[in-house]
Symmetry: C2
Subunit: 309 residues, 2 copies
């Protein structure tokens, strides 16, 4: 088990970016964190991660920065911002991506890789889907409660590349579950099968997943929304999602307990919701491919109203 | 101007039934009120109606009843209950409808006439749509702020009948705006063009009509919902609603100010919403006629969740 030769910049060091950055550093990688409110604390005291699953971490020292312009250029720039902040990427990324380096976006929905590609070129972008439950519980202090898997892959080609294996090894040395995606667009659409019904319905109706799945009407609606995602995945990226996967998602969610999706929490906290990444882009791509997605579109329009008023 | 020869029973004497009953009595009709919480007050002090539009009314005496079994049988039984209480009709109506008398339901959506018809026979039922803004402001005290028009007609046949003219004359003597409907089902579907988008969206999103119409996304969604109602009206009752009517409804609502539909207020107050009459019945009838109404159905399912959890 040797140390990484890659350097990492973490853009957006919150409950997600901070968690994975701390894991990478714990595994031996050279990690640089861009921070806002927690800058002072992390610069002085580093990171604390509580995790019953993968072991607690204390990192008394961390390389912390207040501005992208102060950071060294790195091999891998991990974007852990919410997708609603991606308008900042053209300003941030040019400072931190080394020549020959690349960007790994760890964001929800569709579009984040395109946002990064517009700045650094599509061939220099990888994208990851995170299955992570973590919270900021204090400055520089993160609690990870369940899962931390990342499924990631290349944005501009299919298959598994050398840099994917290198990055995977770095995360795995930090005890993060990694899954390599040979077909990132297919993986993104598959994740939408869950995200499209539950994030939006929970946010609009202000009810957690167990309430939605205890009711026959919203269970039927979640099912219909999943079928629209399946039809879209087929038309937009040629990916066949088996109906057994839809049944599995419904069934898993039915037994998930009172889970509150991120968009529901964002609405409660009055924070911007990731409406464009999870709904706007998927709806536009589905409709451009000739697929009727009336219920996804309706949920999009309801969420836009809530986000804008 | 002669007094009415018809007797009236008002079943459900709230802001709507109480208002119209007081108007009928003010016009000279023999009116009998079924009351719950306001019984004591109305039995002792009668009704007060404030109305800048049609003139205030004070009726110091009113024929008030606590139970249908105590009421005399009347020629015209006006049902002013919310449609969510229609399960009570089989118990109430047999006590109060005179032989040869009839029931006039003043309720929202589709189905109220069928509920009454199941008890007294379809040929003895008339139905009315109310365009009324009124509130209970105290016991036996109603404020009418805008509109009070009733459009009513026969349930089991088309055209204008003698009893329709008689009832209209009684209301008009009380200064109520009356419009005779030659085709009640067509009139009901036309009213749904407004009710389907605005009642449900305002209730689900907790935003009044002016907020919904200030936003391009929910304006587009309201438009799509109206088009589903138009297609349903054509398929279910053979009624052509011109697209100019849709444009007029959108435009009127855009300039209506911060209007809060009844279903939005019901949700806020934790009262049952009229989900089946305004959504369940229309959706089932449209789908049975082969019309795709995905957005009406989605709104129905969202409202059912809110009503049941």
């Amino acid at each position: 088990m040797s140390d990484s030769k890659l350097s990492y910049a973490i853009i957006g060091s919150g409950a997600l970016g901070g968690y994975y950055g701390a894991r990478l550093q714990h595994g031996g990688a050279d990690v640089h964190f861009l921070l806002h409110s927690d800058y002072g604390h992390v610069a002085k005291h580093g990171w604390t991660v509580d995790s019953t699953q993968h072991g607690d971490i204390t990192l008394p020292k961390a390389q912390a920065y207040r501005a992208a312009a102060d950071m060294p250029r790195c091999d891998i720039v991990v974007v852990g911002l919410k997708s609603t902040s991606n308008a900042q990427l053209p300003e941030l990324l040019p400072h931190v991506v080394k020549d020959g380096g690349c960007v790994l976006t760890l964001q929800n929905g569709l579009g984040p890789e395109d946002n990064a590609a517009a700045v650094v070129g599509a061939e220099n972008v990888l994208g990851g889907l995170c299955f992570l439950c973590s919270n900021k519980v204090g400055p520089g202090h993160i609690e990870q409660t369940r899962f931390d898997r990342i499924k990631f892959g290349e944005h501009s080609r299919r298959g598994i590349t050398g840099r994917m294996r290198q990055i995977a090894a770095d995360f795995e040395r930090g005890a993060v579950d990694i899954d390599l995606a040979e077909d990132l667009p297919a993986a993104r659409w598959e994740k939408l099968v869950w995200n499209v019904p539950y994030n939006g319905l929970a946010a609009v109706l202000a009810r957690d997943c167990s309430v939605l799945m205890d009711n026959d009407h919203t269970t039927a609606l979640a099912h219909d929304l999943m079928l629209e995602v399946v039809a879209s995945a087929k038309a937009v990226v040629g990916h066949d999602i088996p109906l057994a996967f839809v049944d599995k998602m419904l069934n898993n969610t039915k037994h998930m307990g009172p889970y509150r999706p991120s968009m529901m929490i964002d609405r409660e906290m009055g924070r911007p919701m990731e409406v464009e990444a999870i709904y706007g882009e998927p709806v536009r791509r589905a409709e451009a491919a000739g697929v009727a997605v009336p219920k996804m579109r309706m949920l999009y329009e309801q969420l836009k109203l809530l986000d804008e008023s």
